[in-house]
């Protein structure tokens, strides 16, 4: 399967899963169920994680192709995103 198809599958499946989880959470919140906000949060975190997973899949694919340059670039993007998490925790 081509890298493009692999990425398309990952993003499509992830979108469906994330949308279902957020929708369940939203329905619970509308029904005044307390756990709803937690479910919503899980869905939101899943959506934020999805593009990061996409970069990770690209990193693995480039590494398998022994395409060092692009594997390194993908790793760099992951490192920048990791720095973002660190910034969020430590810089206000």
């Amino acid at each position: 399967m081509s890298l493009e198809r692999q990425l398309a599958r990952l993003l499509a499946a992830g979108t469906i899963a994330g949308t279902i989880v957020v929708a369940i959470g939203f329905a619970l919140v509308c029904g005044d169920v307390r756990a709803g906000v937690t479910v919503e949060t899980i869905g939101i975190v899943a959506f934020v994680a999805l593009p990061i997973a996409r970069v990770a899949v690209m990193l693995v694919a480039f590494a398998r192709l022994r395409d060092r340059k692009y594997a390194l670039i993908a790793a760099l993007v992951l490192a920048v995103i990791g720095t973002g998490a660190w910034l969020g925790l430590h810089v206000h």
Partner: protein, 263 residues
């Protein structure tokens, strides 16, 4: 009840955007700030999450049609994500009223672009033109992408409106490849600021969730209707909406709100 209003607003914004093959993110944050009176940082964080969701939701067809240049995307993403982190750092330092003005400027650029958008006659895909761009112009594209990433993080939008012309003019890519690749990059760009806003506690689930849900469903509906949509009248409606929001954001920057109540 408030949640349903947020959902409806995001749904409408996204469907309208999707009708013209454009992300509706640019409507969501102003609507949250101006009409729902959501605090700016919370609105931006909710915008970022909805931008990620819409990018992921729209990516598959472009990828399968080989319109997305994934290698070019990952290279440019180095610049967009670093730009996003710069935006995260700046967001704490810039006064909201200055951000309103930046937002008004981006709305004006979007309106102008939508008004003057050229035809999509270039049907080339990535396979036909293996690396259709001139690598010597990559540094120019990278600096433009850095700026686009920063604007995305600051305003909670995808800033495809800045990415597409950057690829268009700096790399001279066919418009369809620019659009597909821009949409692909938007998710990762927004994820870089998204993790920061999540960690910082700016993402309020009760606000972000209805916005995300409305955006994804609205974008799906908009894309469906796009097939049958009549062009020019809709485009004018879109331009008018952008101009109206631009005016309101400018007024809000000077402390005047027309929509009632204090922002």
């Amino acid at each position: 009840m408030f949640e349903l209003v947020l959902f409806a607003m995001a749904f409408g914004a996204s469907a309208l955007g999707g009708l013209l093959g454009m992300a509706g993110g640019i409507f969501v944050v102003p609507a949250l700030v101006l009409f729902a009176h959501v605090e700016l940082h919370t609105a931006v964080a909710a915008g970022i999450v909805s931008v990620i969701a819409c990018s992921c939701a729209g990516a598959a067809p472009y990828l399968n049609a080989k319109l997305t240049d994934v290698r070019l995307a990952i290279v440019l993403e180095v610049a967009t994500t670093i730009g996003a982190l710069t935006g995260v750092l700046l967001s704490g330092l810039i006064a909201p009223r200055v951000l309103y003005l930046v937002f008004a400027a981006v709305l004006a650029i979007s309106a102008w672009q939508m008004f003057a958008r050229r035809g999509t006659s270039d049907e080339r895909t990535v396979e036909d033109g293996e690396r259709a761009y001139d690598a010597a112009r990559l540094p120019v594209a990278m600096s433009l992408m850095y700026g686009a990433g920063m604007v995305s993080a600051l305003l909670g939008i995808g800033s495809g409106v800045l990415k597409i012309p950057a690829m268009d003019t700096a790399l001279r890519l066919p418009i369809k490849i620019s659009s597909a690749t821009s949409n692909f990059m938007i998710g990762v760009t927004a994820a870089a600021s998204g993790v920061a806003y999540l960690a910082r506690g700016d993402v309020v689930a009760a606000i972000a969730a209805p916005v995300v849900l409305g955006s994804v469903l609205g974008a799906l509906l908009g894309a469906k209707l796009l097939l049958a949509a009549p062009g020019s009248r809709l485009r004018l409606l879109f331009v008018a909406t952008l101009v109206a929001l631009c005016v309101q954001m400018t007024l809000a920057a000077f402390g005047i709100t027309l929509a009632g109540g204090g922002a």
